[in-house]
């Protein structure tokens, strides 16, 4: 498995090296465009679509922030394909979501050179901006994080990242590896013929895999898995009943931010903003009559449960929902915990592979008899 290209860099020059790499790729016509996290002139780091090779300098893929799950961006660019070859640098959670969107025909990867990157976690947007203001660089974060510490200046990476078993991205053409590669080098791994061709055209030689990588990755995955199990246990204990759920969701105000932030919540128009949920006065009164009182706005739990029934089979646990909630309702554990079960039930895993058909799109007569209760 010798598909690695070593990219050594001196301290502080990682982004420069990457900029050169992609500049080269674009100039050599490997791709016409690049979608990658870029440092913004004002502040922050955002996914940016670059078509002018001379302007890739601002690239900073390893910046520990994901303002928007990139799957949504990729979907909007490729939903109706432009026919232009585009390299996309994304993280595991974004790519896994993207895989689902492809199955839902919301994105198409034919013209895309998909580049995944090792992910050590992301800070909430505001924290990240604060840390950048304090001068924390991506390299610094990588070093610290690889050492096992992501906490800094009272901020830490998001809860989703802490329990994410996928620091390394799959289903990609190329992979930017920094885990277990030594502090002075980044490796580019090619996983597909597309990837091989890209490296070749970019004039990059092929070498061996970095010695320590596999072990390092496994160790990290293990750590996060344990954390994940703990989190699930903690969530399930804390939320054993509908009452407990009500409690957890008590402050929901139906702003639907979580829905907007969710990469796999792909409806054009959400049923909750349609007529279906535009009730008449006498309906509200009726409910009030029934229980004497009626908390407004209504349908909050209904909303979350409906959303759950829609997306839990595709949920990748990116945690954008939690990040998006103005009332800091920690939704991620709820969705991720349920998703784990529903996906397991169909022996499915969101984003695992392009081939696996999504559950419920396959019509089987004698499926889940124990649930449907149909007996011959």
């Amino acid at each position: 498995m010798a598909n690695f290209t070593k990219l050594s860099f001196k301290k502080g020059e990682l982004n420069q090296k990457l900029a050169d790499l992609f500049k080269g790729m674009m100039e050599k016509g490997v791709v016409d465009a690049l979608l990658a996290p870029m440092i913004q002139p004002k502040r922050g780091v955002m996914l940016t679509l670059v078509t002018d090779p001379s302007l890739v300098g601002a690239i900073d893929p390893f910046a520990p922030v994901v303002p928007v799950n990139g799957a949504r961006i990729a979907s909007s660019i490729t939903g109706k394909p432009s026919g232009r070859k585009t390299a996309m640098v994304l993280r595991s959670c974004e790519i896994r979501a993207l895989v689902e969107l492809c199955k839902l025909k919301q994105a198409h990867l034919d013209d895309v050179l998909l580049i995944g990157m090792d992910c050590l976690g992301r800070y909430e947007n505001l924290d990240f901006i604060k840390l950048r203001a304090e001068g924390q660089s991506s390299e610094a974060f990588i070093e610290k994080a690889l050492a096992g510490n992501t906490e800094s200046g009272g901020c830490d990476v998001s809860g989703a990242c802490k329990i994410c078993e996928f620091p390394v991205a799959d289903n990609v053409d190329l992979r930017l590896c920094i885990i277990g590669t030594g502090s002075d080098a980044l490796y580019i791994e090619s996983l597909t013929p597309k990837g091989d061709k890209a490296l070749e055209t970019a004039g990059l030689g092929i070498g061996e895999a970095p010695a320590g990588r596999e072990a390092a990755v496994q160790q990290l995955v293990k750590k996060r898995k344990d954390a994940c199990d703990a989190a699930f246990a903690q969530y399930r204990e804390s939320t054993p009943s509908v009452d407990a759920l009500e409690d957890r969701l008590a402050n929901c105000i139906n702003c639907y931010n979580c829905r907007v932030a969710c990469p796999v919540c792909y409806c054009k128009e959400c049923v909750f903003v349609t007529d279906t949920f535009r009730h008449n006065g006498d309906q509200y009164m009726g409910w009030a009559d029934t229980f004497g009182t009626l908390k407004m706005p209504t349908d909050t739990i209904f909303y979350h449960l409906t959303r759950m029934s829609h997306m839990s089979l595709f949920c990748v646990g990116c945690g954008q929902c939690t990040s998006a909630c103005p009332n800091s309702i920690d939704l991620m554990p709820m969705f991720k915990a349920v998703a784990q079960k529903t996906q397991a039930r169909f022996d499915y895993q969101a984003g695992r592979s392009h081939e696996e058909k999504q559950p419920l799109t396959v019509f089987e007569n004698d499926e889940l008899v124990e649930v449907t209760g149909q007996i011959k």
């Binding site: 839902l104 054009k268 049923v271 279906t276 009559d289 999504q358 419920l360 799109t361 396959v362 011959k376």
Partner: protein, 1030 residues
């Protein structure tokens, strides 16, 4: 002045499944049908069968039309049949038939029921008070019934009658009858009717324990039952309650044995035929016994040959044996012995171990076969025709359903001993023959039902008119306060008016309602009455008359509130229950959209793929009825396999010359266009409007054909094999090669001493043709007999697994043995071995009777290599996006109930493309497929149903999950329009798309989330008004 032409009227005598199917098919194309049955109910045997293989579920309703469902009043067939154009006359016998072609005068004797079933409300007060108890025929005496009874427990409405033989005329029933419709003095009524054609579907009697000598001697205990009785024992509507109870003492039956060939394959009883259905019947019952009774139930079938000849039969057999562990023992048992502990002992000889065993069983089921002859004699006399040599009704040599007397047809078991799917196809085929016949005489069709245009009123703000029938008030259980109820409902939003009247079901009642409604301002209607099932039709018409849209009309069953109380309701306050019930319905009705059916544009041309005999027959049958036909054949000759290769068959048919005649008819017919050397490339569209791309292989160019429907009749050919040294010796041939050789004289058996035939070569096994090719056994026998004719001294051995001479073909098996042909069975585990000794075959096999190794060095070794599907089936399947099974045959919509249809409406299959079958069966299917096609292309308006699935394009994200999941293939993604398209004819509103679609872009019209949630709300609703209502 020209007098009005009469409406084409058809008598269908016999309301078993085949009769019902024929009736529906004719009614659907607008003929008037009299459907009679000698028994008090309809449904025939199937009324008793809850489970049919291969699904082991009931699927009866699948025989109902799928397009424009509401107009066929889609409904559970086990409950009953409703169709405007069908007049159902149960308990009616055909007494006489006079007149001739197209003009028959018949006498019908309607036996007295002593109850006016039109007025009877079916609640059975009378049954409660009747003092007489007798054994219930429906459950084969396993349960008791009163003298006044419901012939079929699950019928709705109940068609009660009085069994005068048992009745004591005590008159109790008359006293309690609320609708006073009982007349103990009623008499049979003889009526005379005019019909233009007649279909006989009276079926045949089953061998039974009451009548027949040897069966009687088996009945040593109530625990020896007929297979039909066993069907009742394991049926929920029978005595089954989770355990299979043996009748004698209700003890759980854990060891059950089936005895095959009861009353069949018996020369001594002059019944030398095979009843065809019993083997699968027994297998199914054995499987069900295990599934229902638990894994500890042991099931054993004593058989001679397991005749699993039909499509999917063999797989089912494998499943029964391998998965369910059904035990099969090849031994005909002499009798059964009743032990003091009620167990039943049987002694049998196990050929495998060459040992005798005596085994005790809890129950013994006799696979009682069909008994055709008497029935046929009776009918023949009635119709003034002569019985044929076989003792059966004389039919056309090629068309099983066609009696030699014009205008008379038959279907179902009468044709010969048919299984379910054949009964259905024959029903359709008979209907087809009738419509062909009637199209040639001077009769008209019934007026098409007028579909009302949408009115502006429908779109106004909902205003509901409620009509409540208070007749149920009289019932003693009733405590509904109708005034309070009315008052409560009146208060509700969008309720315009509440009218409470008595006896809506009565004619006066109906009139009152009509008067009230015609004045009404409301645009939606809710009627509360008892037994909507009974009145739905008439109330629907009532609503229509009063100008309410069918989609804005609801019926609610008040009686169930009164009589059953409401499910597990916490309160017994009936007024309140009624209120909540009705309120929920109102909430729904309020939100209901006004739905209107679409009329589908129909291109009245048919495409027939395949120019074999089936294809040509279908094409001709359609053309005869004025349908334009495109006949596409990929070779440059018509006739297919049978029509070009088979000179004559054992039953005296001559396929080649028959095909020649048919070819001429086809070529000469002005409505048929023939495309030779052409094959189907791709097709798109839906019922009424298909466009198919055709490739001309000769000219090497493509062209397009437009058609409203298509029939796939691509046929098949003799199987190929490399087994048994085939190809390595010129003494080893296939049956077809032998047949050719014998006809051309190239093969001379004059000197031959020994000839061996091996059956099931590469067939009926997992890694091969996993099916029985159906024709090989008969084919082998035919060849063997020819050999014997040419050289009586020759010894012919046929090595077989099961001799598949089902039905009357059994006679050929007997004939063959009589001619000295020797049949030796072998098992799949222990196939014969063939080796070549200096170029000649030597066969070694285990002789099962003497259980010894035997060897034969024949002059010829003949292999029965079965029938293979056309290789091109897969491409044709792709072109039409039709399913093809592992063996390369097309997969029909439902193997039992929709044998010639595909799930996608407008596409049909006929002949060997469906599965291997005899020429007659292929022609039968062709006729059926042609009729299904004709029904849509005949020029009558085809409407979609009100309730079908729609796409809200504005919010559709085109993820196409709905396309993937639609079980009917009614949805597709149109690349050009970049839209999801719904085939309105094919959609059955099952709702799968609604489930798959996350943002409700796919909606089943009339079942919006909003409605459903509103109903849920209403049900959860506790209303101060109601609690204070009374």
């Amino acid at each position: 002045m020209a007098e009005k032409k009469p409406t084409g009227t058809v008598l269908v005598a016999g309301a078993g499944v085949s009769g019902i199917k024929a009736a529906i098919e004719l009614a659907e194309i607008g003929y008037k049908v009299l459907l009679t049955d000698a028994s008090p109910q309809i449904g025939g045997i199937l009324a008793k069968l809850d489970n049919q293989f291969p699904t082991d579920h009931c699927g009866m309703c699948r025989m109902l039309p799928l397009v424009g469902r509401e107009y066929a009043s889609q409904y559970c067939m086990r409950k009953g049949l409703y169709h405007e154009n069908i007049e159902i006359l149960p308990f009616t016998e055909l007494k006489s038939v006079e007149g001739d072609a197209g003009n028959y005068t018949i006498e019908l004797l309607q036996k007295a029921r002593y109850i006016d079933t039109d007025k009877c409300n079916g609640l059975g007060e009378c049954i409660k008070v009747c003092p007489v108890e007798v054994g219930d025929e429906f459950n084969h005496g396993l349960t008791k019934r009163k003298a006044v009874y419901k012939p079929v427990p699950h019928n709705t409405p109940q068609m009660l009658l009085i069994d005068m033989a048992a009745c004591t005329k005590c008159g109790e029933c008359v006293k309690v009858c609320p609708t006073n419709v009982i007349n103990l003095e009623a008499e049979d009524e003889l009526s005379t009717r005019q019909v233009h054609a007649i279909i006989l579907a009276s079926g045949v009697k089953l061998y039974n324990l009451e009548e027949f000598e040897d069966a009687k001697s088996w009945a040593v205990s109530p625990d020896v039952v007929s297979s039909l009785a066993f069907e009742r024992i394991i049926s929920g509507s029978g005595t089954f309650d989770g355990t299979i109870k043996r009748p004698s003492d209700g003890k759980a039956a854990k060891k059950i044995a089936w005895i095959q060939c009861m009353g069949s394959r018996n020369r001594r009883q002059k019944r030398d035929y095979c009843s065809s259905i019993c083997c699968m019947f027994a297998l199914k019952e054995a499987v069900l016994a295990k599934e229902k009774g638990g894994d500890d139930v042991e099931t054993t079938i004593f058989y001679m040959d397991m005749r699993t000849f039909g499509k999917d039969f063999y797989q089912y057999y494998e499943k029964a044996v391998d998965e369910h562990g059904v035990k099969l023992i090849r031994c005909r048992v002499q009798g059964v012995m009743l032990n003091p502990d009620k167990s039943l002992s049987m002694r049998y000889f196990d050929s495998e171990t060459q040992e005798f065993f005596v085994v005790d069983y809890d129950m013994v089921v006799l696979s009682t076969g069909q008994v055709p002859y008497e029935t046929h004699k009776k009918l023949a006399d009635l119709l003034h025709v002569a019985i044929n040599a076989q003792g059966l009704l004389p039919t056309d040599p090629y068309e099983k359903v066609k009696l030699i007397k014009p205008g008379m047809f038959l279907c179902g078991s009468l044709m010969g001993l048919t299984d379910l799917s054949e009964a259905i196809s024959s029903g359709i085929a008979a209907a087809g023959q009738v419509s062909r016949f009637l199209s040639g005489i001077d009769v008209t069709l019934l007026e098409e039902e007028e579909i009302p245009e949408p009115t502006a009123k429908d779109r106004d703000e909902p205003l509901i008119s409620i009509v409540l029938c208070k007749c149920s008030e009289k019932a003693k259980e009733s405590s509904v306060d109708f005034n309070a109820l009315g008052a409560g409902l009146k208060k509700l939003n969008s309720v315009g008016e509440v009218n409470i009247i008595d006896m809506v079901c009565s004619d006066e009642g109906k009139q009152t309602v009509l008067d009230l409604l015609s004045k009404s301002k409301c645009n939606r209607l809710l009627i509360g009455a008892c037994h909507p099932f009974m009145y739905r039709k008439s109330l629907k018409n009532l609503a229509k008359k009063a100008g309410f849209s069918a989609s804005l009309f609801e019926i609610i069953d008040l009686s169930s509130i009164v009589h059953k109380g409401f499910f597990e309701s916490e309160t017994k306050d009936q007024t309140r229950l009624a209120y909540n019930e009705i309120r929920a319905v109102i909430e729904n009705l309020k939100l209901k959209p006004a739905l209107h059916v679409e009329t589908l544009p129909i291109n009245p041309a048919a495409l027939v793929v395949g120019g074999g005999i089936a294809g040509m027959h279908a094409a001709f049958s359609l053309a005869q009825r004025g349908v334009k036909v495109h006949l596409v054949e990929k070779s440059d000759t018509l006739g297919g396999y049978a029509g070009t290769k088979i000179e004559h068959t054992i039953d005296g048919l001559t396929p080649i010359s028959m095909a020649k005649d048919l070819t001429i008819k086809v070529l000469e017919h002005k409505h048929i266009t023939l495309y030779k050397n052409c094959e189907v490339v791709a097709t798109q569209g839906s019922l009424g409007a298909f466009e198919t791309k055709i490739r001309d292989l000769a000219k090497e160019e493509n062209f397009y054909l437009n058609h409203g429907a298509a029939i796939i009749a691509t046929g098949g050919h003799e199987g190929v094999t490399a087994e048994y040294e085939y190809g390595n010796s010129d003494q080893i041939l296939t049956q077809a090669e032998l047949k050719d050789g014998l006809t051309t004289g190239e093969i001379d058996v004059g000197e031959a001493e020994t000839i061996v035939m091996i059956q099931c070569v590469g067939s009926r096994q997992k890694d091969g043709r996993e099916y029985c090719s159906r024709i090989c056994c008969i084919g082998a026998i035919a060849n063997a007999l020819t050999i014997k004719e040419k050289n009586p001294e020759a010894r012919v051995f046929i090595l077989y697994r099961d001799v598949m001479t089902y039905g009357f073909a059994e006679q050929y098996y007997t004939q063959a043995r009589l001619a000295g042909i020797i049949f030796v069975s072998y098992s799949l585990e222990n196939k014969p071995k063939v080796e070549l000794k200096d170029g000649s075959p030597v066969i070694t096999f285990t002789e099962p009777v003497l259980n010894s190794e035997m060897q034969l060095s024949p002059d010829y070794l003949i292999l029965s290599t079965g029938v293979d599907a056309e290789a091109s089936n897969r491409d044709v399947g792709k072109a039409f996006s039709l399913p093809v099974n592992g063996d390369g045959f097309f997969v029909e919509a439902d193997s039992k109930w929709r044998p010639v249809e595909f799930l996608k409406v407008g596409l049909y299959v006929a002949g060997v493309a469906h599965s291997p079958m005899t020429l007659k069966d292929a022609i039968l299917q062709a006729e059926a497929a042609a009729h299904k096609t004709y029904a849509y292309l005949s020029g009558r308006k085809i409407h979609t149903a009100h309730v079908i699935s729609k796409v809200h394009h504005a919010i559709c994200v085109k993820c196409q999950r709905c396309v993937d999941i639609c079980p009917y293939g009614a949805r597709s993604y149109d690349e050009v329009l970049d839209r999801i398209i719904v085939d309105g004819a094919t959609c059955q509103a099952c709702g799968m798309c609604g489930v798959a679609c996350q943002n409700n872009a796919a909606e089943i019209m009339g079942f919006s989330d909003k409605q459903i949630m509103a109903v849920i709300d209403a049900r959860l609703y506790r209303d101060p008004v109601a609690t204070t209502a009374q």
